[in-house]
Symmetry: C2
Subunit: 207 residues, 2 copies
């Protein structure tokens, strides 16, 4: 048990609406496993963080030139990673319900499959992840009791867990997703995943 | 000559004030050479591009949480890359004169050494690169006639060359630095340098 507590750990901070969180979420478990680093899934909401910066929408919508680039870049990244991509017809989608369910999954140990299922629904199948039926279908696909979990997702303890994650993200200086933390070191972006894992393992970047 | 024209080429778009352009500029020549890709140095100005987005300062100053992260991230990157880093006491510095000189260097084939010298002055030595004496010292350190070149940097043809680069950057959808283009494909950031070079070489990302 003492050993488990000391095992190097990466905390992966993600938001279901976030585009670059998609390729990162699909590979973070493998990247951590290959490095012998434990993974903690930390769903949070970008909305309050963006609002504090004066944004009421995704910066990719507010700055369309950057948004145009991002969609092409994401397409290339998914291609190179060998994961399907279809540009969502609605962006950003509201990931609140899915994030609450992910909090339950993180507690119970089935977050990985659920998270990947939700990202796949949003960014490969263009499905409305704000919909309880879509979130429920993802839960069923990973053999979890959808009805019971969707009910629990509305309980105050679960709402508080997600709020606590978002508060902790803000306290740690997180301003975008995906982010990864290794101890007090913060890494932003899918591009920094390997560096973050290397830092978690060795206390230094992997580069 | 026909062969030279067909040689795969990476265009490297950079701004001397830009923080992440520093590690990118220090390694882009090696990365290109290792891949057999020709390198074209494209200095440009971010000021007009940021102004069009409603910013009158670096986004790293306008969004201090992001800025705080960037300085730590840059320190880690420089460490991993084995290049010195000292946080500039003034940020962003005005790179106009240095960019004009870089236009001359790109024309005459000595841009690489000059560009690295200016970045080193700004981000390793904390020197004021807006100063003609500092730019002149960099020119002297690479055995170029500083006085004559600084005079030429004020000629309309040189000013036009830099303006043309900035106009072309805007036309290509460039919104930040460093950027790299391979044909019509755009890549943003130090992180994407390898992908950009891979695309230039093979028409596909290197990942």
């Amino acid at each position: 048990m003492g050993q488990a507590a000391q095992r190097p750990t990466l905390e992966f901070w993600f938001e279901f609406a976030s585009t670059y969180s998609y390729p990162a979420a699909m590979r973070v478990e493998d990247v951590c496993a290959a490095a012998g680093v434990a993974l903690r899934w930390r769903p949070f909401l970008l909305g309050p963080i963006f609002a504090a910066q004066g944004w009421n929408d995704s910066p990719f919508n507010l700055y369309p030139i950057k948004g145009h680039y991002m969609w092409r870049d994401l397409e290339r990244l998914c291609d190179a990673q060998g994961i399907p991509f279809r540009r969502p017809s609605v962006f950003p989608r509201n990931g609140l319900l899915a994030a609450r369910v992910a909090c339950i999954g993180a507690e119970e140990g089935w977050a990985a499959e659920f998270v990947r299922g939700v990202y796949h629904a949003n960014f490969a199948e263009d499905r409305e992840i704000a919909d309880a039926t879509v979130v429920g279908a993802v839960l069923e696909s990973i053999r979890r009791p959808a009805g019971a979990i969707l009910e629990r997702a509305q309980e105050p303890v679960v709402k508080r867990a997600l709020r606590a994650n978002t508060d902790e993200a803000i306290a740690r200086g997180i301003f975008g997703a995906p982010s990864a933390t290794a101890g007090s070191e913060l890494f932003w972006g899918n591009d920094r995943l390997e560096d973050a894992v290397g830092w978690a393992r060795l206390g230094t970047p992997s580069m």
